[in-house]
Amino acid sequence: MFRPSGSGLRQKLVSLTLKAALLGSWILGIFPFTFDSWTRKLHRSKWLMIYGVLVNAGLVALILCNDTEAESQERMEVFRRNPLAEQINGVHDILSLMMVSFMLFRAYWKSGDIERILNEQMDLNHRHFRHYPLEEWCSFDKFVLYKGLSIVLELASMLLLELGMSPNYNRQLFLGVTSLCLVLLGVLLGVSHFHFAVVYVYRYVWTVNRELLRLVNELAAGRTVEASRVDYLLSLYNRLLDINGRLVKVYDYQMVWVMVNFLSANIMSIYFFIIFVISLKKEIDVKLLTIIPQTLIVNVFDFSLSIAVCDLAERTGKQTSTILKLFNDIENLDEKVARSISDFSLFCSHRRLRFSHCGLFFVNYEMGFRMTITSFMYLLFLIQFDFWNL
């Protein structure tokens, strides 16, 4: 399912991105499956799992043993100024470490389900969606490309941050930074698996929508449509929703962790920046002015992307019912077709394509808005505490 969906440059780029993601996750051992091209199925392999565990454990150990970010003097000053920042920083470090380990653990534990889901997706792709023309998935391609771009940017900004903030360059530092970046890459790839899967679901739902539209147009043009096509689409929609539900259930804990972690990272960087610039009355040098904002921007970009993917899928799910409404103004519709259409719409009224992570919150723009406000007020309160400490 990774083959280029067209001939254009963008499609090539997309397939390149997907392949790169696949390859990277194989190398980092967070994708413990082997692809059997004959039966077109994925198989879980113990060896890859063990390999992945070893690699990641080694990386984490490397980070822990040469962690050099302690003696960057800006941080020291910030921490000296308010100890709250130091505590937050420590908590955040611990949190992110736990996140990494937890993600890997979850990925291995649920690998059976992931395998089944992916196989079913490939099966769907091969059996049903292969026949549909594959040109204008512009937003699909766009999102895949953005995702790849965001991963690359994250890595770059991480490197910049570590190398830029650290006073003295030595071997230990480079070791630590490289291992850190590798672990980060692993986390990002693990998240991106979920997003790619979501994007695929979106693409399929989009195709279903387009087929429905085609039916509407045929009916409007006076041609007849047999009910079985609608039923077929309904069953496809059914399966897609099922896959989606299972997917969310597999990935929800990781996603919650990652979201919370990134959000707190954003807030922390703003917070440090503010302390450092405003209340510490430092003169702003170019290094600082470049490094911290770019990390911030990249983080925000990645975060908004992860929300936007889910929101896109959700909106597409909503469109299905609006498209079904178009069947209203078609006179002398066939009995069977009408019945299957009404079945379809009843189904839509019962279940829709939504992403709720362990029932805590739905992932869409609304939630993103809430989170933004939340983090803003969080920032306000932090600064207030900073005032207290003056």
């Binding site: 409007a220 469109q319 009843l346």
Partner: protein
């Protein structure tokens, strides 16, 4: 791109292919006073494709349109016929481009002067918190206006498409019912005047507030600042006027549907302006009417979504901007009131002017959105009130109802939140919270001052 952008070509063709018999509108036979788009001529000859210059389309919101056209926010479209508008001519397009270019240049100059001491005399401060507030407010204003210009430049085609769809819809309504849908959009003119007045008032206040000799650059800055605010506000008024138009259409089909409800069937006495022979031929022309209504409803929903997509970003930024402005002004008011001694009437008037303008705009926006949304969702409820003996009628009714279970439309600000009457409420409760935090900051500063005094002594 979402699929349902290229679907809707279908119903329009159909409606062109097979015109309906003339029928009586629920508004009664049209009297020429409330005539939509042509002032003098009567409906049957209205559909002639010849280009008439002196019967401009959308003349009921003419003034605001002209303002927007002049400021390059709206394309200066050509009127092909009474029911179609064409893309602007080269010269007009160039004019719009030119205006936008000027605006962007001014914006750049504005930002530059904000970060340089040129404008120092304008933005003096009472205390540092307020100073920061004012800077942020200015930046937000600039951002909003620039965004508005950009989005409008990008959405020119879709705006034209929406207008064309509205016109087609009106044409169909006209052909079916001879009804001319319009109301007076006096509120738009009133708001325009109000905005202009408040902006000038604010400028004057500012000029009085500034000490010393005022440099021409600061005059330019002030003028441009006022223009930015005014045009953004004007665009909001325009959006709500569009929504009002859609609302009228929705209301029309709801009224039409309302003629079939059992309430009308049972009550012998007149209720809402239906004339007698309309109910005489009840229910037998329900099928094609229902088809017409469903099609209209779909089209209207599409127009609604189109408007929503066009002014998504603008609405978000405007809401943020006005939210911030309202908060800071309330804060200033509070400071002024609770401050011992120095209460400057200048600042009070300034705050009041801002508050009035923004609160009224918010109220207008949320109200029009709420009305339109409620009307759009009311169709299913009204249809649920239609009781029919015959099976096929019941099927017609079910067809619609089944598809409208739990499918309420919403006018969202880029999906962040829905805009309706409750939005106003939410915004004000949020304002209170932020106000509380700001006041806490102020008290912190004060208490710090108190502490520092005994520390020194």
């Amino acid at each position: 791109m979402s699929p349902n952008t290229w679907v809707i070509e279908m119903p329009t063709e159909k409606s062109r292919s097979r015109p309906y018999p003339q029928r009586i509108s629920p508004y009664g036979v049209h009297h020429p006073s409330r005539d939509a788009f042509t002032r003098t001529r009567d409906p049957p000859t209205a559909a002639t494709p010849t280009k008439i210059v002196d019967h401009p389309v959308f003349e009921d919101i003419r003034t605001i349109m002209s303002v927007l056209k002049a400021s390059g926010l709206m394309p200066i479209y050509e009127q092909v016929s009474d029911y179609e508008v064409g893309p602007p001519t080269k010269t007009n397009e160039f004019y719009s481009f030119f205006v936008r270019g000027v605006v962007h240049a001014l914006t750049l100059f504005n930002i530059y002067s904000l970060f340089t001491p040129i404008s120092a005399q304008l933005f003096y401060s009472y205390r540092e918190t307020d100073n920061v507030n004012q800077w942020i407010e200015l930046l937000l204003c600039i951002l909003t206006y620039t965004l508005t210009v950009f989005v409008c430049a990008r959405n020119t085609k879709s705006m034209l498409r929406i207008m064309n769809e509205i016109l087609q819809l009106d044409e169909e309504v006209r052909r079916q019912f001879g009804a001319n849908l319009n109301e007076n959009f006096g509120f738009s003119v009133k708001f325009l005047v109000g905005i202009a007045v408040s902006q000038t008032y604010i400028i004057i206040l500012k000029i009085y507030a500034v000490k010393g000799e005022i440099t021409p650059t600061s005059y330019v800055l002030l003028a441009f600042y006022a223009i930015q605010n005014g045009l953004t506000a004007t665009y909001i008024v325009f959006a709500s006027a569009l929504l009002k138009i859609v609302y009228i259409r929705f209301h029309f089909i709801n009224q039409l549907l309302n003629g079939y409800t059992y309430g009308q069937q049972q009550k012998p006495k007149q209720k809402r302006n239906h004339n007698g022979h309309f109910r005489a031929a009840l229910m037998d022309n329900f099928p094609e009417d229902s088809l017409f209504i469903y099609r209209m409803h779909n089209k209207l929903l599409r127009i609604y979504k189109g408007i929503n997509d066009c002014c998504n970003l603008i609405l978000v930024s405007f809401l943020g901007y006005s939210f911030y402005t309202v908060t800071t002004n309330c804060y200033n008011l509070f400071v002024q009131i609770t401050a011992k001694g120095m209460i400057s009437p200048n600042i009070l008037q300034w705050c009041f002017a801002w508050l009035c303008m923004h609160v009224s705009l918010l109220a207008l926006l949320s109200r029009s959105c709420g009305l339109t949304t409620r009307e759009a969702n009311a169709t299913a409820q009204i249809l649920a009130r239609v009781y029919a003996k015959a099976k096929e009628y019941q099927n017609i009714i079910d067809k619609f109802l089944t598809k409208s279970i739990k499918q309420e439309v919403q006018f969202t600000a880029y999906g962040f939140f829905a805009i309706d009457n409750s939005t106003l409420f939410k915004i004000f409760s949020a304002v209170t919270t932020y106000l509380v935090i700001l006041i806490q900051f102020k008290q912190l500063e004060d208490s710090k001052v108190d502490d520092s005094i005994p520390a020194q002594t």
